[in-house]
Symmetry: C2
Subunit: 216 residues, 2 copies
């Protein structure tokens, strides 16, 4: 009975790790749609979020069924509850990639990001991608060293957001208010994607050590 | 034994409802700090979020302990899991009020919101407050009619956000890029507070009816 429990729990965690792959692809596709004003790709991200949500609901259902039928206690219970919360993080990352895709769709056929800020947005997307990838490995391997490193990557995201705002607020900004708002919101979306990756990693640290990592 | 279970579950739900009161006060105080450039009040909101977080952690601990010791199944299990998720919604609302307070702090002694947009921000804060209040009553009374009404209130929030952006993007906008970005982000913060209230209500609807309300 217990063996079956761990088998099912492992399958749930595996499926969650696979799902982070879908979320990474959604973020990457949304960014590509944004930087190339690719409306069909933006639509694909927006529609594809339903699939991510359905997958999450399916995993949640299985986790709840496992809770109900196996009634785990102590660490096993915490693991399942942490899994449910990490699924919420992944759902939000999917939603945030939809937000990015919607900015792209709103501005097509123009590119929402002025040329001089495209490298910054690409860097933010790349850092977000690294962070989701790291979170998935941390979940899969309970890798605490990687969890600590993820906090450093988050500092990088913070630097990029500051850089973005420095440009938006400089005297040489010549693109007006609308692109500035788009970019401030885009910066926030990528930052939030990173925050959710950090949140996933912190839940793993808590599971392993029983200590909540210092929140900012 | 079962009686004790429901007693403890009721106490958890009661404490969560009380907590929504703290969250409402945080949103209201952050808005007052914002509109009056009241730095000490902004600091109070920022510091006070720790208390909200600690309260949430305390309630979570009790919910997990109840899960572990009483091992509820079916509806009772779903109720506890829904409670854990609603606590996450409340935590995010607290964080979002901190974001509002930080915009206020960043611009003090100036008021971050130009006079002509103060009524819009006040209206958004007021709608957010109504939505949190409604969510707490929906949680306390499992009131499905109120849950349906909450979706209408959310449409109001949507209209206010559109109105805000119309002003930010109009030719007559004379305040430059920085206040425009502040206001776009502020609009998003209030909107997200409302989203989390809707999310809480939808979890109650799901608990009562077994049906997930249509997501937008």
């Amino acid at each position: 009975m217990r063996d079956l429990y761990y088998e099912q729990l492992d399958a749930i965690v595996d499926d969650m790790v696979t799902l982070t792959g879908s979320v990474r692809r959604a973020v990457a596709a949304a960014t590509a749609a944004l930087l190339n004003a690719d409306a069909p790709l933006a639509e694909q991200v927006i529609d594809g979020d339903k699939v991510i949500d359905e997958t999450i609901e399916g995993i949640e259902e299985r986790a709840l069924l496992l809770l109900a039928t196996q009634q785990p206690v102590a660490t096993d219970l915490r693991q399942l509850v942490a899994t449910l919360r990490m699924l919420t993080d992944l759902e939000r990352m999917g939603d945030l990639s939809v937000h990015v895709a919607k900015v792209s769709r709103l501005r097509t056929p123009e590119v929402a990001v002025p040329t001089n800020l495209q490298p910054t947005i690409m860097a933010m997307a790349s850092v977000a991608d690294q962070m989701i990838h790291a979170a998935s490995r941390i979940v899969a391997n309970r890798d605490l060293v990687a969890a600590e490193k993820l906090e450093d990557t988050d500092d990088e995201m913070d630097k990029l957001r500051k850089e973005l705002f420095r440009v938006l607020l400089s005297d040489s900004w010549s693109h007006g208010v609308e692109p500035a708002i788009d970019l401030a919101l885009l910066g926030r979306y990528y930052e939030r994607i990173g925050d959710h990756a950090v949140s996933m990693a912190r839940r793993v640290v808590y599971l392993v050590t029983g200590e909540v990592p210092t929140q900012d």
